[in-house]
């Protein structure tokens, strides 16, 4: 009962704040409503017993990445609305590519839905806890996990290189 109410509440918050993110003129409001969306989604994770994911979602996305977004937006001078004129072609291309993305995502969701029905018998109470997640990450998926961290390392090296570049020239 309570979880169902929480689910609907979080869903509405997520959808409306996502709408607010897209529709608001002020980029700072956009970022703030995106943060609210993240919170709602973190709440969903909580309801799905994935506490670790929820916490990490808040720490990483809301706590770190969105702060950096906010930095950039705040440092830009946003008082003037100087939206550049886009040609009809670029608009059409954007619409088409986003439509295809939507198609792919909805297909994936539909597919996933079909699969989850098969797996719903599995016990979900401990599936998202830190321990199970850690064990599966560091045992079953150790190599992909480490490779993805190498990707981060590469990005970091690139950032350092870019910021240091002036000294070498």
């Amino acid at each position: 009962m309570l979880t169902e109410y929480a689910f609907w509440f979080l869903t509405f918050v997520a959808i409306f704040s996502a709408m607010g993110m897209i529709l608001s003129k002020n980029p700072v409001y956009s970022v703030l409503s995106l943060i609210v969306t993240f919170f709602a989604i973190a709440g969903h994770y909580f309801l799905l017993n994935a506490q670790f994911l929820a916490a990490v979602h808040i720490i990483v996305y809301a706590g770190a990445i969105m702060v950096l977004f906010l930095y950039v937006i705040m440092m830009l001078n946003l008082n003037k609305v100087d939206e550049e004129k886009r040609s009809i072609w670029s608009k059409a291309a954007a619409a088409a590519s986003f439509g295809i993305l939507l198609l792919v995502v909805s297909a994936a969701i539909g597919h996933g839905h079909a699969q989850s029905e098969l797996q719903s018998v599995a016990d979900t109470s401990a599936i998202g806890t830190t321990e199970t997640l850690g064990l599966s990450l560091y045992k079953e998926f150790l190599i992909p996990f480490e490779i993805s961290s190498v990707l981060f390392l590469a990005a970091m090296v690139g950032a350092v290189y870019l910021s240091k570049k002036e000294q070498y020239n």
Partner: protein, 350 residues
């Protein structure tokens, strides 16, 4: 959840809220008194005996002051900033175990609002949200000094959060849990974790200073050199909220440090003492809670002691300390902890 436990939790929420506000209020008094004593002065002594009514006088002053809204500021965000800062400051207290179990009328009540098994992560999540209060407040002031102050404060907090998280990871490796209650319970018989993790504790302590924007890292306070910080444009109780939240943060981070590294509400020989005095379980719990608060007060005094000893860091020194010293040290600490645990056969068996 039975209704009496729900009511108890609600009551506990209220009590903890009031207590943390009270502690924060009297921390302002204590801060001034302690500073005065360290500087051979008397400090607040006019309002009430020993100036004990000073926090009330300060609060009244804050409320009575003129409320200023900068002309071209974003009103909504301007008010949201301090509110958010205060909210996040109060939110961490939900996962802190304030004491053991109380048994009243056959029902066991736990002196912790919620024992989620990701307590430490929750804490980090909430702390990282505190940055938004500062950033929004600084940006909404529509003042370049406030904005720069907000950027300074928030990038400082983000930088030190990393070293803080890594210093805790070494602790979590030893405890094997993220629940603060379990960490405290693990320390009830044996030694506090500060003995096993001295380096981790030192890093955490320094980061706690930086996270609470205090002592040698209080760049927001330098009006003379940097035109203040994110709260330059704030006045009246909105400024009061910012300043007050700092004290709540100090209280909460002291509580977290005590829970993680100093045994929380446990004290040495507690079972022996309880037996010798013939205490009931409830009596022991109450004494434990009092001891917990005693430890917290000790930490708060330490915060103040440091504040009135050390000069402020320059901003580049602050950043290089965070990134070039504390971060590698925290990594080394994790490494050493892992090696020792592996050598003792605590990990790597399964």
């Amino acid at each position: 959840m039975p209704i009496e436990i729900l009511l108890f939790k609600l009551l506990l929420c209220g009590i903890i809220f009031v207590v943390s506000l009270g502690v924060a209020a009297y921390a302002t008094w204590g801060e001034r008194k302690f500073a005065a004593v360290l500087q051979d002065r008397v400090g607040p002594s006019r309002a009430g005996p020993f100036g004990l009514l000073q926090p009330i006088a300060d609060g009244v002053k804050m409320f009575m002051k003129e409320e200023m809204l900068p002309n071209k500021s974003n009103k909504f965000l301007f008010i949201l900033g301090p509110s958010l800062f205060m909210l996040t400051a109060c939110m961490v207290s939900t996962v802190i175990p304030w004491g053991g179990d109380l048994t009243l009328g056959g029902v066991t009540y736990n002196l912790q609002i919620t024992d989620i098994n990701i307590g430490i992560l929750y804490m980090f999540g909430v702390v990282s949200l505190g940055i938004y209060g500062i950033m929004i407040g600084g940006w909404a002031s529509n003042n370049k000094y406030s904005l720069l102050g907000a950027l300074r404060a928030s990038s400082q907090m983000i930088s030190y959060e990393i070293a803080m998280g890594l210093s805790i990871i070494a602790l979590v490796m030893m405890t094997g849990t993220l629940s603060l209650r379990e960490i405290v319970e693990q320390q009830n018989a044996g030694v506090s974790y500060v003995v096993y993790q001295p380096l981790g504790f030192l890093i955490f302590l320094i980061c706690a200073f930086a996270e609470t924007n205090r002592a040698p890292f209080d760049l927001a306070e330098c009006e003379t050199e940097l035109v203040g910080g994110y709260h330059t444009e704030y006045s009246s109780m909105k400024l009061g909220l910012f300043l007050f939240a700092e004290y709540i943060n100090m209280f909460i981070s002291s509580a977290v440090m005590v829970s993680l590294y100093f045994g929380g509400y446990n004290f040495p020989f507690q079972t022996e003492i309880a037996e010798a005095l013939g205490l009931s379980a409830n009596g022991l719990t109450i004494i434990q809670t009092l001891i917990f608060f005693g430890k917290i007060v000790g930490f708060i005094l330490f915060f103040m002691w440091v504040r009135w000893t050390l000069p402020r860091f320059r901003y580049d020194q602050l950043m290089s300390l965070g990134w070039k010293v504390l971060l590698p040290l925290a990594l080394v600490n994790i490494f050493i902890t892992g090696i020792v645990m592996w050598a003792l056969g605590l990990i790597g068996n399964n």
